[in-house]
Symmetry: none
DNA sequence: ATCTAATCGAGACGGTACGTCGGGTCTTCGG
DNA sequence: CCGAAGACCCGACGTACCGTCTCGATTAGAT
């Protein structure tokens, strides 16, 4: 039983490109992230990038998907505590200039490319959000969440404010802020 | 007591530039919005744009600030109804491809230019959010909102989910959705 | 008695490459004659071309050498008539857009590659010119050509003008023109 | 009475481009003559080249036209001597590797671009050939040239062999060779 | 009612990056 | 074990815009 079509793709080049893309982003920011710069630093021809990706946006996405480990939320039984942990994580990510640069770049690309936007949602974010929904469903079964609330809406209730604050720079992104968001959300979904 | 420095600025050109910027955005999208295109269509030299704006981002911002009328939330006494109205408005704006194109473009520019981001927040969004906060404060005084909640957080609770869904394309942007968001938020802040 | 080193070269591929090269030249001209195009159309890997030729110039040369039959000038006894025949032939070749395309391509390659230039001279042109020299020598023996003229110079006197006119596009390439050239040349070498 | 439309073209850039083009040709040869290299060395944007020229071929042509001084053949009364002088000049030009590199490059471009070919003929060569024709006509009037010969054909008789030998590398390009060519041609046109 | 200097439309300029093409080399895999 | 297939690195192509910089030609304020 043969595996998938044996691609002749050069794995060394693929890794180099993804690594360099993230390096450039954290080092010099989005404005210096050009396909030419990636190719040059990775010791790769531009065509090798265009052969496998639609543009730098797709490269960043792949880099992040590659980097993102499996994310499973803990279930300590204390729903509030578990949510605080995950929201704190997201807030920290947005607060870190290094990590934030990546998100910023990907968001820009996403806003200008619908197809990329769909892939970012499906391949990068869906797994993370699904993990949260799983934890929420457990909480719902445990009676800590009203039975009639739409869990997807709860997810947006938890992360929407964080995105809002990050995008609009309307306030600090701290643990305390994360806790406040969770507290309000918990109030909204408590039975 | 003299007024501000009497500018020799050509008002006709200024109007043309702002109008053309929005036209191009809704007609052909962000990728075709270049300073050269604006100048050409507006019958204006490029220098006239760079003389008065830092770049196309600043032009869009000015165009939107110009277009945005005074926004004062109604106070019907029914806080939920009033919030539904405003959130429905925002959702409708994001759902409309034409209007959304403008927001999309400005968001891209914002993500790549910190100074512009600050101006967008202060000149474009703050007034809108302030109007909401005003209405919330009235509700708080009327005992419809718990006294200990941070109103800025409530605002994020209302609009964050909308931004989240718009940015990540995780679901439809409809009136029903707006109502759902408000309902959850109201549950979170009810005394 | 064994023949030459038994090459493992694929004759079918060799023929296909040479044929395709000439086809492409007459169909789409020099600018579309790329090694990649030849390989693709011939159903051959690029390496197979580079393995056996230095580049597309060498391919064209081989194709022409392959195509060029043995050329022996007739000797009707009338030197003028015989020369008219051969010069008319050359002029016709240059006048034909199809055949001319090949010459044009080979000339370009020749001008940029000294080694190729030598091979073109020795393998493609020398035999043709030698045939003319042979005829001239016969004429010289018959007393139709002055004994002191350098026959190589006469050859240039016959074909130089044709090349000149072809290269510089300074006039039509017709039989009448060919005859005129021969007439002048005959006047130059008549005893 | 106004002059021609006042072009805003930058003369300094124009000169730099033409100079650099010839420099590169004589220094490193045709294969290193790229539009990018010219632009870089001339301290000029590529667009400035493409704005005013169709490609590097047109640049070389302009450079040569610029460099070519007015060429008027001397008329010493001795037609043979005068022709020897001019043919020797052409032969020397072809023999000089430096100057020949320029001709080689322009010829390549010419063979691949019909429009350029016409311009080379009209702007660069015609003046030179016309000068020769003028001298020939004077000789004709003086009875040194048969009245029935086509002077354009005589010109080809003089220069054709030189081009032939240069292009095909069939022999040395020396003064003696030039003299031989003229001698033969003189024999062909003598009354 | 001039003067005069900022502003205007226009667009050339030096640059950077784009996305594509082809060159010549190297690797994989099927016949 | 050759050859088709084609990925690879590289360099140049010609184009699109960037933001700056002249150019006259208005043009509006101060004189």
């Amino acid at each position: 039983m043969p595996g998938p079509a044996p691609s002749r793709r050069n794995e060394r080049s693929r890794r180099a490109i993804l690594t360099v893309a993230l390096d450039l982003l954290t080092e010099t920011g989005y404005s210096d992230l050009t396909v030419e710069a990636i190719a040059a630093r990775a010791g790769v021809g531009k065509q090798t990038i265009y052969r496998w990706w639609r543009g730098k946006g797709a490269v960043i996405l792949d880099a992040l998907v590659d980097a993102a480990g499996d994310i499973a939320l803990p279930d300590t039984g204390d729903l509030g505590a578990d949510l605080r942990a995950v929201v704190r994580g997201t807030v920290a990510e947005f607060a870190d200039p290094r990590l934030s640069a990546t998100t910023r770049a990907l968001t820009i690309e996403t806003l200008a490319d619908d197809e990329l936007a769909d892939q970012v949602r499906d391949r990068l974010l869906r797994p993370q959000l699904d993990a949260v929904r799983l934890r929420l469903r457990a909480g719902q079964r445990a009676g800590q969440v009203r039975g009639d609330v739409d869990l997807d809406q709860v997810i947006e209730l938890l992360f929407g404010p964080v995105y809002h604050r990050w995008l609009l720079r309307t306030g600090p992104l701290t643990d305390a802020y994360a806790d406040g968001v969770v507290e309000l959300a918990m109030a909204a979904i408590a039975p």
